[in-house]
Amino acid sequence: MLIFKKGSQGRFATAQAPKKVAEVADLPAAMLRKKPALLPEVSELQAVRHFTNLSRRNFSIDTQFYPLGSCTMKYNPKGAQRAAALPGFINRHPLAPESHSQGYLACVYDLQNILKEVTGMAGVSLCPMAGAQGEFAGVAMIKAYHESRDDHARTEIIVPEAAHGTNPATAVMCGYKVKEIPVLANGDVDLAALKAAVGPQTAGIMMTNPSTCGVFERQIEEIAKTVHDAGGLLYYDGANLNAILGQVRPGDMGFDVLHMNLHKTFATPHGGGGPGSGPVAVGKRLLPFLPTPIAGCTEGDSGVKSYHWVGQDKLPDSIGRLSAFMGNAGIILRAYIYAVLLGREGLHRVGEFSTLNANYMAVLMKNAGFELAYKDRRATHEFIITLNKQAKNLGVNAMDFAKRLLDYGYHAPTTYFPLLIPECFLIEPTETESIDELEGFVEAMIAIQKEAENSPEIVKGAPVTQPVRRLDDVKAARELDVSYAE
């Protein structure tokens, strides 16, 4: 039931608002609101009970295995949450003077350095507020770079067809045209097509490695050479960084700029759709263009460090500002704390164990008769299966399997992405899941396969254990109801 229906106008059971109604007679009556907003009017108990019960209608990492490919649903250490909520952090005004910001600035500065090291890049800005904004910042820097060289002919960004939707959308937000290039059956980019595509109009290419196909792009050096030779730059979509943490660095692969999803690789919680944080890292060429503000540090004679903000005044070619203040500061803190907890050894292990888990699951799935999209390839931190045969032969498609998994207590993997693999699951277990969970998931898949063979209507009718059965999406779009009215 909607909270509005639990409300009752005229109830005023709040202890949260000021007790007294303050005098505002000085304000011109004409400017005052006439009809009050119809907010719910409930007691604290009603509010708490309503939203507590709503929360119970969610799957989440804290309650379920959630192997959503490309999303890196790993465990978010509670200590990071606790430390980021310390009063000194939580109450700091974004425009507080540097004298009252040394603690926070130190964390920002340290994280910048950790991310530089991890990516093998020359500079980092933590400003972007999510992956997509990181992409925006990155492509805007590519654009600023070409323009700074008076190279105005570059109007095109190349994107492999398997790319995430934010990549082409971002290119357009930066004023570029998008050229998609095909991916080969083995998961690697079609190099010939790329070679044909590049030219003086090429501003750059956006890709991720491992790619969204769950395999490592083996021709990365040749791709880099091809694009660089054509005068373009290489953008690395860091959504898949988890796979290679401590194993191989984007900077070493030849990328010029990248974003990271701290809400993936650095274990900051996803919050049911954010907030995230999408820092950008750049090679030397793009350093002048980083978005601001950035944290800087000077060491005094006595070795005491003092931190300051670097704004556009000090970085005049910066692509500028992406948020009113300094991005998703609290998420940045949590990511820093995660890095502090893991340290060098721990970050290295992330790549190792996320890859181990994915490969183990992939082999188990294969042994159980499921079809891997790239059978001859090593899985990275994620892998793809296709349920094409099941869809064709049994009439039970990937969506059905996904919904049925919910009944088994597992969140479904990413479905129908990347678009080029029909009826696919993109499965990313992450390093924080135990072998028991991995095996449990595979067993559930096997059980569902049996159901699909013997009583497909069970699978097609799933889920049955959730708060609702399958929803009518068509009605949702046709009879648009996006706001409650009395």
Binding site: I220, D252, F325, R344, R469
Partner: protein
């Protein structure tokens, strides 16, 4: 291995099943010469206890000042229940609600949030959030260009009283698409839009006009007049609003004859802590007819196959994961958890509660303004109706005087406001001061005496 549950036996079993002899072998498709060296630049990991010690030390450095800075981020009382419930694992650690049946909690909550935003702004449709107020304004600008079929202009007109950092963010974002922002002059007498100057734009074609309410200086604009003027000229009107103020002042949907077309703003005042500037969230709402130009996620109410009420992502054909390069925006992850908190905040306060917060904030701000009016060397610049911020000018005309005074106050433990000196010749040594419901009479008295002392001391030094 902190956070990694694998035992030695687990690892061995897994390697055996995979058929490799070491984890390292799993990376055999990566050219060897590309393999990373140990990340020597990253320090050793710390246990949770040592981490807490390090972070506590750092947090403590930033603690304890009494803050009168607003300028886009406002300190309000946050009911304890807000974050107690928001931080429940099921809200905190869920992803974007792609599997609707397993995400009804988040989905219904966002639907309720959308409804509340529509109520507050008097608009028809809200999305599920944008990153923050400033980038949200950029999206509103882009949206207005797409949506205004009558105008071919790639230009948008801004009241000069829009927050300067917002102006900068919008320009930095939209100029990549060749869109231009034209900024109207400020009337220095009342720190509001110069209504006389409107005439200058009579002949030009703009896709939209952005009107802040309250404006950057805390003052109220003549929103009805501006709205009618702009819509008459075929512009869309974008109202940039403070959500707390919406409980007290006319909402954008009621501005002028027809109401603004888009309302956008920073959601932070609704239960989100200052927290160094984020995560906050941008809210955006519009008239029904513009819904297909809306960026970001929208949740719709529908039914399941048994006819039971349920909630789901809808109108996804606007979004990047479906439309790719043709999407209304590249936004994907938004600010879900902050929205969760805001929804609970609004529920706990209700309409009357929010209005008390607004009134009390205004009242306290006015008390401080009145009490400062007799301070030597201080001129009150705010002379119109205002919300919870006002402008004072230090009469000493030395360069950097305001900065020095604010520095002195900071040493006294008072963050005295936002220095406006950079933002216009007329604003030299001006300070934007914010007071909300959390300040007591005693706090205001402390402010006043700290300011007096700072002016004396800084004047003495010069």
């Amino acid at each position: 291995m902190p956070f990694i549950p694998h035992t030695e036996q687990d690892i061995q079993k897994m390697l055996d099943v995979i058929g490799v002899s070491s984890i390292n072998d799993l990376f055999d498709e990566i050219p060897t010469h590309l393999r990373a060296k140990p990340l020597t630049g990253v320090p050793d990991g710390l246990g949770e206890m040592d981490m807490m010690r390090l972070l506590s030390d750092r947090a403590q450095q930033d603690e304890g000042a009494l803050c009168f800075i607003g300028a886009g981020a406002y300190e309000h009382h946050i009911p304890a229940a807000v974050w107690d419930v928001t931080m429940r694992g099921e809200f905190l650690t869920a992803y974007t609600p792609y599997q609707a049946e397993a995400s009804q909690g988040t989905l219904q909550l966002i639907y309720e949030y959308q409804s509340m935003i529509c109520q507050l702004t008097a608009m028809d449709v809200s999305n599920a959030s944008l990153y923050d107020g400033a980038s949200g304004l950029a999206e509103a600008v882009l949206m207005s260009i797409r949506a205004n079929r009558k105008s071919k202009s790639k230009k948008v007109l801004f009241a000069g009283t829009v927050h300067p950092l917002y102006q900068k963010v919008v320009i930095d974002i939209v100029s990549n698409q060749g869109i231009e922002i034209e900024v109207m002059p400020i009337n220095p007498d009342n720190l509001s839009v110069d209504m006389e100057a409107l005439k200058a734009y009579a002949e030009e074609d703009f896709a939209a006009l952005v009107i802040p309410q309250p404006n950057f200086f805390g003052g109220l604009e003549s929103v009805d007049e501006l709205t009618d003027w702009a819509q008459d000229k075929g512009m869309l009107v974008i109202g940039l609003v403070n959500p707390t103020a919406l409980a007290l002042f006319n909402p954008p949907g009621d501005w002028g004859q027809q109401g603004a077309d888009i309302a956008v703003g920073e959601g932070q005042p609704l239960g989100i802590p200052l927290a160094s500037g984020g995560p906050y969230f941008g809210f955006i709402a519009c008239k029904e007819k513009l819904v297909r130009q809306m960026p970001g996620r929208i949740i719709g109410r529908t039914v399941d196959l048994e006819g039971k009420e349920g909630f789901t992502l809808t109108l996804q054909a606007r979004e990047q994961h479906i439309r790719r390069s043709k999407a209304t925006s590249n936004i994907c992850t938004n600010q879900g958890l902050a929205v969760t908190a805001a929804t609970i905040y609004l529920t706990l306060l209700g309409s009357e509660g929010l209005s008390r917060v607004a009134k009390s904030s205004h009242h306290n701000a006015r008390q401080l303004l009145l009490s400062l009016s007799d301070v030597d060397g201080v001129t009150i610049r705010t002379n119109t109706a205002f919300f919870h911020e006002f402008v004072i000018q230090l009469e000493n005309e030395k360069d950097g005087f305001a900065e020095a005074v604010l520095g002195n106050m900071a040493e006294q433990g008072i963050l005295g406001g936002f220095n406006l000196s950079e933002y216009g010749a007329d604003l030299k040594n001006c300070i934007l001061v914010c007071v909300t419901e959390v300040k007591t009479e005693n706090d205001l008295a402390i402010y006043k005496s700290a300011l007096i002392r700072a002016i004396e001391e800084v004047t003495g030094e010069c």
